[in-house]
Amino acid sequence: MGLKVPYVTSYLTEHFADDALGTIEGYEAKGGYAAARKVLRESTPESVIETMKASGLQGRGGAGFVTGLKWSFMPKGTEKPKYFCVNADESEPGSFKDRLLLERAPHKMLEGILIGAFAIGAEKTFIYIRGEYAYPAKQVQRAIDEAYAKGYLGRNVFGTGFSHDVVLHRGAGAYICGEETGLLESLEGRKGQPRKKPPFPAEYGAFGMPTTVNNVETFCHVPHILANGPDWFRGFGTEKSPGTTIFGVSGHVARPGLYELPLGTRLDEIIFEHAGGVPGGRKVKGVIPGGMSMPILPAGQLDVPMANEFLRERKTMLGTGGVMVMDETTCMVRASSIISYFFRDESCGQCTQCREGTGWIHKIVSRIERGSGSVDDLDLLLDICGKMEGQTICAFADAAAWPIQGMLRHFREDFELHLKHQKCPFPESFEL
């Protein structure tokens, strides 16, 4: 079927236009599984973890924790079985990169899993894929079957004595299952309500056993790092944020698409040079830089390099690298109402601050949008956001509060105009 979306490619997405890459023969023809074979035959778990630490790879699922460090937290010398989980529950609005990797290069992820499983001593991997990803799930299952048939999974992988099983597990539509302990609960056949931490998954994870959870893209970097070394990897990106990532650009741009670029690439370069800028000669009004949980940036701040050390200075984060562009016609109160509806809808309901707070925020933003807000509403919104942040079992409540705080930080005027005129003053904005 080819690739129907504009894209830019680097090592991660090389050969992605070639359908054959999805098959084990096609992947091996491009050098696939060579890194895993070499690691399993010649390396030790300790040296793989050292290489991963030296590379500085940070997890690409949103939190940006150093992968090698996470792997090193797995207990050694335990009799308990250890598990890997792949977080393929990609549900952060504005994110669609993992879907590309799952559909186009499932073997790259499997190779990363093999190397990681060898490093942490995991006997089994559960790939938790969101239920709506039916086609990606088919591609991944086919890849798993191919790998078993060739002896790349199962017992005695590559004749090395190392054994590893991979199980594909389909979710069923719940954003919170992307939170790692919500994912584990869901994997165990329960509601996906996050667990209190500690204990962390490395101690008490899937089915009570030591578990590491990593994102799809994170696994896909692993074979490249082991094949080429940490210095090569550090040749991409910034000193603190090495490597490339796949930026997914959506919204008001001429060429929405997937762009694999080094971390630290400037946001305006991504929007204007790669995604073709805003169509119709209109200007940018604001950009959400890393999926909907991340606070928005106004048009005047698009010169920021896309890496956490720079984005944090602007009070936002890289998240999943989902870049949502909104042009000058956009009503930011309307955008906030969609954002707050999402979080109200997806709150798992176990913490009061989150369950009540997300609904309350949506109620207030909606009434401002309809023109029936009151002057106290903006302070009330900030007060509620402040009482949600850091007060709950998982980071979902923070993720619900941050974008609203960002909107009020940069686009307070949009809210004030609604209150003043008691109606939406942006007639050309997208429809609600």
Partner: protein, 155 residues
Amino acid sequence: MVITPEMRSRIEAAMEKYPQKRGALLPALHIVHEAVGHVTPETARELATLFDLRPPDVMEVVHFYNMFYDRPQGRHHVYVCTNLPCSLRGARSLVRALEAHLGIEAGETTKDGRITLGHEECLGACAYAPMMRVDDEYHEDLDVEEAKRILDGLE
């Protein structure tokens, strides 16, 4: 019996993949939905027996997830993504056009039981907005006329 011997053996095969058999509850619910479309109290009792659970343990899982249902749905599920990236590119007017075309509102099922229409949160297709999910298939870069044609083609 809702769960046929064939379904039962698929569920038991799924249980083998997990260290605890409850891990196969989501796979089992997918198998049930594929076969009969939703979970009745009777199905919940049968599943509870298979999994050594109580029926409410099964139903609370059904109610937690958007893709599981406790009542009959249309033969086809049509879900338009109306999250922000899709709304910026016209998803809301697409929903309204499809509501008018089918004579129902989002969340309802056509009288002939053919289609349940709904909106859904982000489906990971943001560069191809607007889009809709029809059962297991994605339709992307849609305009209203094409979306109507796709709906008309559903049996």
